[in-house]
């Protein structure tokens, strides 16, 4: 056979089956576009200059990998369906004298053709959608942080490589099916129903174990830093588990329903159950795909919405007063009252010169360092935790240690505590157990009493932390930390960091506050006696608000954008499922009508089929959401978000909206199905 003939036969094959191939290719295009956009956001420099950008990028990077995995599983199953429908045709070619090599070539050109169309379409759609997103960003968010969706050759290249591998894999799978099937079985392939897997219960139990271990990991994770590494593993396990459980579950369900004679031999159930059984594995896989997409949508929208709607609270936690001045040491290892009062002087002089006055203020100085908690009252600070983390992944034991003096504690939290000599007050936030003494490095501190640093303004000084926090309230700050001054991190910087924060309100309006903020620096510079190694920053809450709005607005927008794309692919999957099944069932329904089935019966049996499977994906998606919400909460802590009720509310609303939309899609596509079969 002449080589030039193959592409022609392949193209004809696709054209003749265009009713099925068009939605299939459309889904491929969308998958590729999603992958491209996720990769672009996760791996390019587009998301930067804002707090939490690196977290957002990390998550999107994981998302990219997850999308590749999901795309593989999804396309694998969809294409298996397509091939099943084509086997008869291939069988006929075979009878008419083509050998398997010839068939393999046709298949190759078919896959190649779809690959070319999908690749081109997917990348163009990705670029187009990202440009659209850019427009949306600049229109919607009036911000100082600009988002520019450049066209990234890196992302294009990665997309092409990854999806070429996926297509190769899909091609090999199709080839396997044609190659190892006898001609006679090829011809009758469309007549034979799916056989239940040999060890269905093994698959089911395996899937359940995988799913449950995914859930366990998701629920077990303590600190958000470890969340990132384990989150990914949990997600993969949950995806794989969902597929296995739903496939085995669908097979099991069909068997149970068919065994129950009184249920099975009811007009409404008879046809729906038998056609479900006819494609039981495919059914399970389709439901799993829908479930995963729904879960991703729910997670993305509820988390970014929670971030966005909580922005004001996050802002005031970060900046409790109109203006904040923060100073930190670079080598000066002494909490000098003198330096602090000089800086306070400089600030108040600045405010006075500006013709304003400070109405309320709050000042705190403290030391901080980080280390490993060894679960036995000792914090090890010999190692630099953040550099060793990449090899140990032991995020959960990283702790942040703060030292305050008792005077500051009493002042900030309105207390009246006194300390016996050599003893401390201890406050812990996180899952750490300490009794009557704690050892930091080699120094032992005796605990006089446990307190809660968060029941007062001290929480503003400490801030939202992503790891467990240990606060030691001591009598003499400098003496308490003196032993830690020689420890350095991997870059040779001292581990121990001194900080001073000064927050105050004025009688100025927003514009005045921003102007004042700009002047503070030069006043501190000019103040004699503030040593050079002290570095300071000043912030105005109103100026930062813009940043918060654009950061969280941007993420929210991104969440919506990705969700819309996911929703469209979800609709496409459902549509594809309905019409491909519709075409398969067309002749069956026409036979049944000849045997006495009415249009009414058809409608009822479609409804019954719909109701049997309709709720499964959304229920599973809700369970998934419920188990990953704790992690999501912890990830949101990285953005300074700590509002669990709001997260629950946004999650609830998302489930409602998503559920309604899903129901609508199902209804509309089942109408399409009904039109085809009747």
């Amino acid at each position: 056979m002449k080589l030039g003939l193959y592409p022609k036969i392949a193209a004809d094959g696709i054209r003749k089956n265009s009713r099925l191939y068009v939605p299939y290719i459309a889904t491929c295009i969308l998958m590729i576009a999603i992958f491209y956009i996720m990769h672009l956001l996760g791996f390019s420099d587009m998301l930067k200059n804002f707090e939490g950008a690196s977290t957002a990028k990390d998550i999107l990077q994981l998302g990219t990998i997850i999308m590749a995995l999901f795309g593989t599983i999804f396309l694998f199953y969809t294409q298996s369906t397509l091939i099943k429908g084509r086997k008869k045709e291939f069988g006929l070619y075979n009878v008419l004298g083509m050998n398997r090599v010839n068939l393999g070539r046709i298949l190759f050109f078919e896959t190649a053709l779809i690959w070319i169309i999908s690749m081109t379409g997917g990348i163009l759609a990705g670029i187009g959608l990202s440009k659209l997103a850019e427009l949306g960003f600049t229109k919607m968010i009036n911000s100082s942080v600009s988002y520019q969706f450049t066209v990234s050759t890196d992302s294009i290249a990665t997309t092409v490589i990854v999806y070429s591998f996926i297509f190769l894999f899909i091609y090999l799978n199709a080839l396997r099916q044609i190659w190892f099937t006898r001609t006679i079985n090829l011809i009758h392939a469309d007549k034979a129903g799916e056989k239940p897997p040999k060890a269905n219960w093994v698959i089911g139990i395996l899937g359940l174990i995988i799913l449950l271990s995914g859930y366990t990991i998701a629920l077990k994770i303590e600190s958000p830093l470890s969340a990132l590494a384990w989150f990914f593993i949990a997600v993969i396990l949950i995806i794989v588990g969902t597929y296995l459980v739903l496939i085995a579950g669908s097979v099991l369900l069909c068997r149970i329903l068919q065994k129950n004679k009184t249920y099975y031999y009811k007009t409404n159930h008879f046809v729906s159950v038998s056609s479900m059984a006819f494609r039981m594995k495919r059914n399970g896989a389709g439901l799993a795909s829908i479930c995963i997409l729904l879960t991703m949508i729910l997670v993305m929208i509820s988390s970014t919405a929670a971030l966005y709607f909580n922005r004001e609270e996050t802002l005031t936690t970060r900046y409790p007063k109109q203006i904040n001045v923060t100073a930190t040491n670079m080598g000066v290892l002494e909490n000098s009252e003198e330096v602090i009062s000089k800086m306070e002087n400089a600030v108040s002089k600045c405010v006075k010169d500006f013709g304003a006055e400070i109405t309320e203020d709050m000042s705190a100085s403290y030391y901080g360092l980080s280390g490993y908690f060894d679960n036995n009252k000792t914090v090890d600070i010999d190692l630099d935790p953040y550099t060793t983390l990449s090899t140990t992944f032991d995020f959960d034991s990283v702790v942040q240690v703060y030292f305050f003096d008792v005077e500051t504690y009493n002042r900030l939290n309105n207390k009246n505590e006194t300390l016996s000599p050599g003893k401390i007050l201890l406050s812990i936030d996180g899952n750490i157990q300490v009794d009557d003494e704690i050892i930091i490095g080699k120094k032992t501190f005796e605990v006089e009493k446990k307190v809660d640093y968060k029941d007062g303004k001290m929480k503003y000084a400490v801030g939202t932390s992503v790891v467990s926090t240990i606060v030691l309230i001591v009598d003499d700050l400098n003496e308490a930390v003196a032993a830690f001054s020689e420890y350095t991190d991997s870059r040779g910087e001292p581990m121990l960091v001194w900080k001073w924060t000064y927050d105050f309100d004025t009688n100025l309006d927003s514009k005045g506050q921003m102007e004042l903020r700009g002047k503070i620096g030069s006043y501190i510079d000019d103040e004699p006696g503030v040593p050079d190694p002290v570095v300071y920053y000043s912030f105005s809450r109103d100026a930062e608000r813009d940043d918060f709005v654009s950061t969280f607005g941007g993420l929210f927008f991104l969440g919506i954008l990705l969700s819309i794309i996911f929703m469209v692919s979800c609709v496409l999957i459902i549509y594809y499922k309905q019409i491909s099944e519709g075409f398969e069932d067309q002749s069956r329904f026409s036979i049944m009508q000849k045997v006495g089935m009415t249009k009414e019966n058809i409608k009822k049996s479609i409804n019954s089929q719909m109701l049997t499977v309709f709720f499964i994906p959304i229920i599973f998606a809700c369970i998934h959401l419920a188990t990953v919400l704790p992690i999501v909460h912890k990830l949101l802590l990285l953005f300074g978000h700590n509002n669990v009720p709001l997260l629950l509310i946004t999650a609830g609303i998302c489930v409602l909206i998503c559920g309604l939309f899903y129901a609508l899609t199902y209804k509309l596509t089942s109408n399409a199905y009904y039109k085809i079969v009747s």
């Binding site: 009758h188 469309d190 007549k191 034979a192 129903g193 004679k261 009184t262 031999y265 009811k266 007009t267 008879f270 038998s274 056609s275 059984a277 006819f278 069956r588 036979i591 049944m592 009508q593 000849k594 045997v595 006495g596 089935m597 009415t598 019966n601």
Partner: protein
């Protein structure tokens, strides 16, 4: 009153585009009594399928009336057809029309399930029917797993299980011997039925000979009168 009365039935297939329309049935008249076994024979394209489709109310005649047990099929409402067919007709299709999503057993049950019968009753009926058709061992198999003849027997079982008033069967048989079991044999040619009534008084071999002769005559273009 006869069980089935067919009078003046005409069927014209409209041309799709350009082509000439086909007059598949020109003027068909006959009656069938209760308990009769009637065979209609004719070469391919003579109009057998068209006629049976009209009798089964799967298709509408262009003109004429079909009355089955007092019910006029030519004026029956679309909505009532399915129920009528389910309750009164057994139909064995030429290509059997078994559903590949069902086992043979479930295929046979289908009309009863549609009629809302209980499973125990369906099983009872099938238990009586299956041995006589020799399909007892095949019931759990799927259509693609059995032979054409076995499929045909399952299709017959499906037609009989509703205890219909009339069974219409389209069967491919190349032996005229099968038809000689009929109490009456009719021949169809060019959309016209030729009544050749063979009563059960002739012997099998006599009847067989007569059928063969008639078929030969028809095949050579001759006319019966």
């Amino acid at each position: 009153m006869s069980l089935l009365e067919v009078s003046g039935v005409k069927k014209t297939y409209k041309a799709r585009r350009g082509g000439a329309s086909v007059e598949a049935l020109k003027n068909v008249n006959f009656t069938v009594e209760k308990g009769e076994y009637v065979a209609i024979m004719g070469e391919s394209g003579s109009g057998k399928t068209t006629l049976l489709n009209i009798l089964a109310a799967l298709d509408k005649a262009t003109a004429g009336t079909v009355i089955l047990d007092g019910m006029n099929l030519t004026t029956i409402k679309d909505a009532a057809i399915a129920k009528f067919r389910r309750d009164n007709l057994g139909y064995v299709f030429q290509d059997f029309n078994l559903l590949d999503t069902f086992t043979l057993e479930d295929n046979i049950y289908l009309p009863l399930v549609l009629a809302g019968k209980r499973h125990s009753e369906m099983k009872e009926r099938l238990d009586k029917l299956a041995p006589s058709l020799g399909i007892t061992d095949l019931l759990k198999k799927y259509p693609y797993e059995v032979s054409g003849g076995q499929k045909q027997r399952a299709a017959i079982a499906r037609a009989l299980i509703t205890n219909p008033k009339i069974v219409l069967a389209l069967m491919v048989t190349h032996s005229t011997k099968a038809a000689s079991h009929a109490s009456r044999v009719m021949f169809i040619k060019d959309g016209i039925i030729f009544h050749q009534i063979y009563k059960g008084n002739s012997t099998d071999t006599q009847m067989y000979q007569k059928i063969s002769d008639t078929l030969n005559l028809l095949a050579q273009g001759g006319d019966l009168k």
